[in-house]
Amino acid sequence: MEIDLSQFSQVFFEESLEGLESMESELLKLDVNEPDDESINTIFRAAHSIKGGSATFGFSQVADYTHLLETLLDEIRDGRRQMTSDHQDMLLLSVDLLRNMIDALMRKVDFEDPLLAELERRFTAALAVNNANDDSHDENTVEATSNEDDANQMATWTIDFQPGIDILRCGNDPSLMFNELRLLGNLDVKIVDSTLPDFSDMDPEACYLNWQLTLVTEQTLEQIKEVFEWVEDECTINYHKKVHSPQADQASASENQETTQSDTPQQSPGTELTTTKPKAVTPAKTPEGGSIRVSIEKIDILINMVGELVITQAMLGQIGQQDSIDEESLLSMKQGLEQLASHTRDLQESVMQIRMLPISFAFNRFPRLVRDIGQQLGKKVELILKGEETELDKTVMEKIVDPMVHLVRNSLDHGLETPEVRVSKGKEEVGSITLNAFHQGGNIIIEIIDDGAGLDTELIRKKALEKGLISEDEELSEDAINQLIFKAGFSTAEAVSDLSGRGVGMDVVRRNIHELNGTIELKSTKDKGSRFTIRLPLTLAILDGQLVRVGKHTYVVPLVSIHESLQVEEQRINRISESHELIRLRDEYLPVIKVFQEFGHDADSHEIRDGLVMVVDSNNEKIGLLVDELLSQQQVVIKSLEDNYYKVPGVSGATILGDGTVALIIDIFGLVNLAGITNASEHAA
């Protein structure tokens, strides 16, 4: 069977990772004392398909290991074994381990981890505590192991092949397998008919026979096992090996390969512990570019729409071929163009839909995280997930996970109190963390809410003073103090733990979110809890933009950050210095950035009173931008300026307008930095 399987292995990796994810979530949901049958089945199925797939692809390390899991789960599923929390822990650890194994396979490196041997031992030990009354007829006992160095050694294999009674009904013919084996070496087949029933009791379609096969070959165990791959679940197959080489002969004349898995790694336990750390500590990038699973439904919609587009194009093409255009064809051309516009818009939306995934992909990792950290800190936490079906662009999702993990860790570490403290405050012993996602306008909002202690404004103020972020005489509102945690170099944790407190926390979170064109807000009430609100665009590829004109140049300002636009009368303009001007807007004083000045070109209106001030949001602070004129609003496709040029301060990218010219997209945060305005509103207040 010479089929190149490598082309399918990527699918296997993806499916396995998905399987592991569902295994993990089911395991976390599982109540150990009363395990839900459906959950156990789901976990079993995941383990089973990983095992099957990995065996097919020849990833014997994964296959052997998942086999242990499967055996254990099978027993639990059949009610032959009681699930314990120890099992649950082992299975969760296995999920991590298998993830690393698959990661190593994807990167085509060898996987080594002392945890593997340890878990194998634990599983074998758990399986060895066997229920004595268990007459395991159909139990899989394919417990043979591969010997790395047994290749190219002539060996005599004795194979006890006891097929399941239904094997013929499944369409498997043992004689075909024997023929296959014969290709591997010299085969001797002996039939064992001791289990044959009386003729009157015999079912003609059942298989009562067993075989004893003697195979002389230099092939490895894997290659032999491959022959039985499709039936090994239904059969009992024992492999015994007798090696012909001299060094193996000294070991034992007939080395029984039916040894348990714990003996597999050929090092003693001592050497295992001293072996080098697992290679896969730093998750390196996998060579594959990643892929998305798209529902057939979405694809069908797309195909429909492309069909419509082709029809419209044909119609317009016909008109285009006419030598002159009369009234009638002009009308149909206009119609066609209208259709074209609507099809294009629909098509764009549907294509964007392909990249959309439900946010549960990101949420899924949190139950585990919260459970582990909660245990580590001795805190009781309940995690509530809401709006898991909210869809989000895959790229955005990948980039938002790390900031979210950071925020959740922070909430666990700093926010939630220990059960004793909570009880003394009159709250419920179990704290809660809520992850909530929903759509609002063209944005997705992700909230991370905890009912912990809230932010300690006193402590934050003290720290900020220490770090020189604020001065002694600065009067700050509670909210303004809370915002200080987003400043670089700020961390209130007394000790640097591996959870949080490295001082690179919140400012990095804010920067990451900012890079996604998003914002983060914080509301905190003492002893009531805190709420972080992350606002993100649904996609990174398209932006709702307001076109503005400054002199001869057209710029795009992201619509999400615009509050309002207004003309400002002279008496509401305060000049602080030559370069700093403020406008009074209701009860606020806003600094104004003259776009033409920062971008170093000319404009129609040099003074604030002549032009238009656009009030925009930059990191929760309002800033005015002086522009000449507002043009249209439109969706623009974001193009990178950095691909062929370099990052330009104050510009986040470029786009191509309807007339084919290029317009630059203003990066408000960058522009504020360019203008050198810091904390402007706070100083002014």
């Binding site: 330009v648 104050g650 510009v651």
Partner: protein
């Protein structure tokens, strides 16, 4: 023309390279033809704020944003009004493992030559600090001096090497060599 074909035939072995030459201020320059993507007429650009003066802005090249660099300004030669013959040579510049597409504005495109690598002379050393790494060498093609440019060194770094001295260099070379008439 026949002369060129002969020359091409004589030189199409591995040691020779083909160069696209262009003219700027009566001087002829050559770039490796393999790095040239296309040649376009001048079109209006969108300026990039706070960019060096030789960066004329960006254009839309079939959906890709491509920066345009004025080579005259880059070399410190007095600038000309862009006219009908002003052309933009779009080149692919290798930058470490990546590449960037950049357009360069020149006066006019001239010719394609095969140049034998043994015929390339290194640029004279003027003894000052001027970094002329972006000059691959000098060669003669049809009795005319051609300055061969290393496009990767010329455009490959963000902080462009100071090139205004190049005009001095050219004057110096011209002084050493009788100037060829090419118009």
């Amino acid at each position: 023309m026949t002369q060129i074909t002969q020359q091409e035939q004589a030189n199409t072995d591995e040691t020779s390279q083909q160069y696209l030459t262009f003219i700027m201020a009566s001087e002829e320059y050559g770039v490796d033809i393999l790095s040239v993507q296309e040649i376009r007429g001048w079109e209006a650009t969108t300026i990039i704020p706070n960019s060096p003066s030789h960066v004329k802005g960006v254009i839309n090249l079939r959906g890709t944003i491509v920066p345009i660099i004025d080579l005259r300004q880059r070399f410190g030669i007095e600038t000309l009004e862009y006219g009908a013959t002003t052309v933009v040579i779009v080149v692919k510049v290798a930058i470490s493992s990546d590449h960037k597409i950049i357009g360069i504005v020149v006066d006019a495109v001239s010719d394609v030559f095969s140049v034998n690598n043994t015929d390339v002379r290194s640029a004279p050393d003027f003894g000052d600090d001027t970094d002329l790494g972006f000059i691959k060498g000098l060669t003669n093609a049809q009795e005319k001096m051609v300055i061969l440019l290393d496009i990767n060194k010329l455009l490959g770094s963000e902080i462009l090497p100071e090139a205004s001295q190049l005009s001095n260099l050219i004057n110096n070379i011209d002084a050493q060599q009788p100037k060829a008439v090419n118009e």
